[in-house]
Every structure is written in C-alpha cells, then in structure tokens.
C-alpha cells in the first residue's frame, strides 16, 4: 500500500509542477493587473518548441526553447492587450486558439498527421541526496525533473520579491492603483509587459515539463486546459506564490487520481477522473472567490480609455 501511495504522490508532484510553473508566472502577471487567458497558448507553444529543441540539441536546451516560445506567445498577447489596449479576455482567448491551431498545424507539417508518437529525449529525474531518502514523500518530492525544483525555488523567491523588495511593491502598486503608481514614477505599461512576458516564459517551461518530463512526446492539444486551471490555481492560492504552489500540488493530486483508478480497484467511469481537475476548478472558484481579493485593477486597460 505504501508503494501505491508513494507512486500516487510522485505523480501528483509531476502533474502539479506544470500547473505550479504556469500559475506562479500568472500570479506575477495578475499582481501587475493583467489577466492572461493566453497562458494556455503559451503552454502548448512551449511544449512544441521544447520537443523540437530537445530533438535538435537535447532536453536541457528544449526547456530553454519552451521558455522562449511561451514568451513569444505572451508577447503577442502583450502587443494587443497592453500595447493596443484590446480587451484582455478576448485577446487571451485568441492567443490560446492561435497557439493550439498553429502548433497542431506545425506538428502535422513536420511529423505527419498520423505518424507514430514522437519519442523525445526526456528530462530525467535528479535525485537530491538525503531529502530523497525521507520515508514515503522523499522520492515523490525530491527525485523529480529539474523543472519541478524550479517551481520549488520560485515560490519563495517570488514571495520575497513581491513582499520584501521595492520592485515587488511597484508591481503590486501597478496592479492595485495604476494611477497612483504612475504618479509615483512607476512605468505602469512597462511593468505590466515585463510581468506578462515573465508569466509567458514560465508557462512555456510548464509546456516543456509536460512534453519532456511527463509525456516524453508531443500531442496536439496536450496542454488540455492547464492554462485555464492555472488561473483558478492563482485564485485558490490567493495571488500568493507560496499558496499558489500548494494549490497547484492539490490540483496535481486531483489529476493523478485517474492513474490510480485501476490500482484502487474502483469501478467508476474513467471520464469522471478526467473531469475531476475541471470540476475541482469550479469548486475552488465558487468557494474561494468571495474570500480572496483580486488585484483591484485586474483586467482593466491602462491608460484608462477616455
């Protein structure tokens, strides 16, 4: 039984990591006052670019390629939503549609529509000495791909950045009171663009984790709504990087449940388990939205239209 639990925990962390990376990035983006639904597009772009990068130069460079692709998708979003001040929701939806459409087309162009599944150089687990020897949780948390450790390190680092540095204060001011921030000399649009690009790059790394550390292959639409779930994870984590990491691991566990259906011997339709993370997203939003306050200027264009 303890082996089953250990395997379940390992899968929870492995599946929670892409949500954590994307949601940590999005929490910074949202604290600056921007909601980027195009996160899903950044994830899928990151997944494909990491696959191509890994094939050409190895898995490590694949992660870098994923980050760049995620950043490029976010740059398109930033150009339209922040540069031209188009509606953020519709722009983000378009970036997601474009990401899914163009990656599918590029993949089919390059590898054929019904080719055998692509086999990629994978991002293998790195075992942390001592910590990985902990009973039950050791290997689950500390024998994982490097991208998982990036999420562990980023959560406290981003918390410190937001709450203990001047730049973090400027970012939060941009998301709460852009007019006051601007008056105090903060360059609101530039701050928001940088926060959006940062979020996109991390979403690209999340896509790279999916392709190189989780699946070992690329599949059309393999982001499977994780960008949208990540936005709910940000709400559940109350826009606080530490809370966001914990919430992402919770969603990782919900996603991992489907792989233990047979092990647990439950005779339930597998689609129920597939739907579980999405249903949990609904519950999280329904139960938490009222209790956690979003940044005051979230989703509002700047400078305000006259």
């Amino acid at each position: 039984m303890s082996e089953i639990i250990a395997a379940f925990l390992e899968a929870s962390v492995r599946l929670g990591a892409p949500l954590a990376l994307a949601a940590l990035g999005e929490s910074i983006t949202e604290r600056s006052g921007v909601i980027n639904i195009g996160l899903e597009g950044s994830i899928i772009a990151g997944a494909l670019a990491s696959a191509l990068g890994a094939l050409a130069w190895g898995a490590g460079w694949g992660v870098g390629a994923g980050a760049v692709a995620g950043l490029v998708a976010a740059a398109v979003f930033a150009l339209f939503a922040l540069g031209l001040r188009c509606d953020q929701i519709i722009t983000g939806t378009a970036v997601t549609m474009g990401g899914l459409g163009f990656t599918a087309a590029a993949y089919e162009s390059r590898f054929g529509a019904t080719g055998t599944a692509l086999s990629l150089p994978t991002l293998g687990p790195v075992t942390i000495p001592l910590l990985s020897d902990l009973p039950l949780v050791g290997r689950a948390f500390f024998a994982q791909a490097p991208t998982v450790y990036l999420a562990y390190l980023l959560a406290p680092a981003l918390w410190l950045y937001l709450n203990r540095t001047g730049w973090g204060l400027e970012l939060r001011a941009t998301g709460e009171e852009p007019a006051a921030a601007e008056a105090a000399g903060v360059r609101v649009v530039r701050t928001r663009v940088l926060a959006t690009l940062f979020g996109g790059a991390l979403a690209g790394v999340a896509g790279a984790h999916l392709a190189l550390a989780h699946a070992g292959t690329f599949g059309e639409g393999m982001s499977a709504g994780r960008g949208f779930i990540a936005i709910a994870v940000v709400v559940l984590g109350r826009w606080n990087p530490l809370g966001v990491l914990a919430a992402a691991l919770l969603f990782g566990a919900a996603t991992a449940l489907q792989f233990f259906l047979q092990t647990l011997g439950l005779d339930l339709p597998y689609q129920l388990f597939l739907a579980l993370p999405y249903l949990l997203t609904l519950l999280a939003l329904a139960g938490w939205v009222g209790r956690a306050r979003a940044p005051a200027a979230l989703g509002k264009p700047w400078p305000e239209p006259t």
Binding site: I89, I90, A94, F102, S109, A232, Q271
Partner: protein, 354 residues
C-alpha cells in the same frame, strides 16, 4: 462594439481584418514550407469551386457557426463572457441524441421538434452553473465556462461508451437517429438541410429582439453599463444577465442538436472540432450584430470546408485554420481599437480648431 458609420463599421473594417489575417496566415504557410497560392487555390476550390461545394460543404458547415456565433454575440452584447459555447454545444448534442433515440412513439415532426427543444434546453442547463455562479456568488464566468467545455467533452465521451453506445458496443458512438427525426434536405441531392433556414430565421429573430424590443434594450443596457442600468432603477440587472446567459447557452446547445439531427445523425467523440471557439471569431467579425452573423458564419463555413480540400490537395494541415481564426480575432480587435483612436484624434483635433 460600437457601430460607427455604416459602410465602414459593417463592411470595410471586417473585410480588412479578414484580408489582413489571410495575409499573415499566408506568410505563416510560406514559412512552414508550403506554397500559399496553391493552398489558397485548393481552399477556394473546396469552399466555392462548385455548386456542390457551396451547398453541401460551405453552407452546411456554416450552420453550427451561425448558431454558436449568435450564442456568443448575444452573450457579449449582454456583458457576459461566455467562452463555453463548445461545452454547451456538446450538452445540446447529448440531450438531442438522448431524446432522439428515445420517445420513438411520438409522431415524426413532433419528435423532431422535441429533439431540437431538448438541445436548446441542454445547452441552457450547461450554462446554468456558470450563470448562477456569476449572478449569485460573483464568480467570473470566463474560467468557469472554459473548464465546463472539458467536462462536457468528457461527459459525451462517457455517454458514447456507456448508456448511449451503439448496440454492438464496438464503436464509441451512439446508434443512428431514425429517419423521421432527421432534418430533411433543402434540395434533394445536396447535404444542405433545414437547419440552415432555422439558423437564418433565428438570426433575424435575435436581431429583431435585441434591436427592436424592450427586452433587447434591457440586455444592451446591462451589457454596456450594468451600473447605469441598475442606478436608473428600471432594470433588474441580475435577471437580465441570467436570462441572456441561458439564452446564449440555448443557441449553442441548438447548434449541437442541429449538427446531430442534420449532419451526423449520431453522437460521437469529437463531434465539434472547436466550433464553440470559432464562434468567437464569427461573432466579433460580425461586430456582434446577429444579422451579420449569417455572412460571417458562411465565411467561416467556407474556410473550414475548404480546409479539407487544402489538406488533400496542398497537404496543408486543416488545423492551420484554427490559427487563422485567432488571427481574425486579433485583427478585428486591432482595427476596432485603431478606429476608436483615430476617431478620437479627429474629434480632439476638431475641438482645438473650434
């Protein structure tokens, strides 16, 4: 979206947006090592190259785009960000299939009417959860409608492998609907069915309701400024939002039911390759005007219909069209913003001169 001077706002701007998208998309094809002209020719041929292409491909494909386009146009006009037309479409298709395969004692025309009604109700019910979450708890509908799309697809997948699976239990699809619950062809020998007429009639009806009735006025008022509508004291904002949200779901659900009763005659996985998302491009290109949703839907019907031919004759993956749709949305947004700024600059300039 504000409607400006008629010819520009209604025709020139969307046409420019569409042309610009095709240009960018053509460059992406060229970068991908394809011949854009050959691909374009194949696409045009597949969409409008023959009477059969027009009637049996483009117009047939346009039906779900018109119906889901109406769903999105209505929602956006009411200030509801319903990105869940895809899930509502699946819920409608599921309800339609269930009612279509049962109730076989009903006389044919009545049964068909019930199938379509069930589709609308199914779509509205699927919109009910995010609608109530928004109206009662203040939960934004963007993410809730989006994740429910995935749940609806999982639900349909379960249904066609479980309770609704065909009797031999081999394929993940339902039994085919009986002949008398299928939407008949408009002209014998074509695949164009009466669903196209239904969609067009509903577009005109929605245009009339939105533009010419008190209910429509309330919907537009709430959509443009809920605060003003509430403060004015004459409009109960919540019921209007809830009603528009559910009606939007009903249109999308009907799209699913019409697809099942008019085209596929059965429910299966992957019934919709993202019609509910394409709908956003349709509605925006139409400037959220229900009448304009008809030509916009036909345009996208041609694009998706021609994509099949493009894949066969120019080996460009059909999925590329999804990217084009995203470009259309971005170009519409950009041109709209450009027009607003240009209009403001011209106005401000005029003020200075005065």
């Amino acid at each position: 979206m504000r409607s400006g001077a008629f010819p520009f706002a209604a025709i020139v701007a969307p046409a420019a947006a569409f042309a610009l998208s095709l240009l960018v998309a053509g460059v992406s094809l060229w970068l991908g090592g394809h011949d854009p002209l050959r691909a374009g020719a194949a696409l045009l041929g597949g969409a409008i190259g023959s009477t059969d292409a027009i009637l049996s491909v483009t117009l047939v494909r346009s039906v779900p785009f018109i119906l889901t386009g109406l769903a999105v146009a209505l929602a956006f006009r009411a200030g509801v960000w319903n990105i869940g037309a895809e899930g509502q479409l699946y819920a409608g298709a599921l309800a339609a299939t269930w009612v279509g395969l049962g109730f076989s004692w009903l006389p044919g025309p009545l049964h068909l009417a019930l199938v379509l009604a069930a589709a609308a109700v199914g779509g509205a019910l699927w919109a009910l959860v995010p609608a109530l979450l928004r109206v009662r708890l203040g939960v934004g509908e963007v993410i809730t409608t989006l994740v429910l799309n995935f749940v609806a697809i999982d639900l349909a997948s379960w249904a066609v492998r479980g309770p609704l699976q065909e009797s031999r239990r081999v394929f993940p699809q339902s039994e085919a609907l009986a002949l008398d619950v299928r939407l008949p062809a408009l002209w014998a020998g074509t695949r164009l069915h009466w669903g196209f007429v239904l969609a067009a009639v509903l577009a005109v009806a929605l245009w009339w309701v939105l533009g010419r009735t008190l209910i429509g006025f309330k919907v537009r008022a709430v959509g443009s400024s809920p605060e003003a509508a509430r403060v004015s004291g004459r409009i109960a904002v919540q019921p209007v939002t809830l009603g528009a949200f559910l009606a939007s779901g009903a249109f999308a659900g009907l799209a699913g039911g019409v697809e099942v009763a008019g085209v596929t005659y059965a429910l299966y996985e992957g019934l919709s390759p993202g019609h509910g998302y394409t709908a956003i491009a349709v509605a925006l290109l139409a400037g959220l005007n229900p009448l304009a949703v008809i030509p916009a839907g036909i345009l996208f019907g041609g694009l998706e219909g021609g994509a099949g031919a493009m894949q066969r004759f120019a080996s460009v993956p059909a999925a590329w069209v999804g990217g084009v749709e995203a470009l259309v949305i971005l170009c519409v947004l950009a041109i709209h913003q450009g027009v607003r700024r240009f209009g403001r600059a011209a106005r401000d300039g005029g003020d200075e001169g005065a």
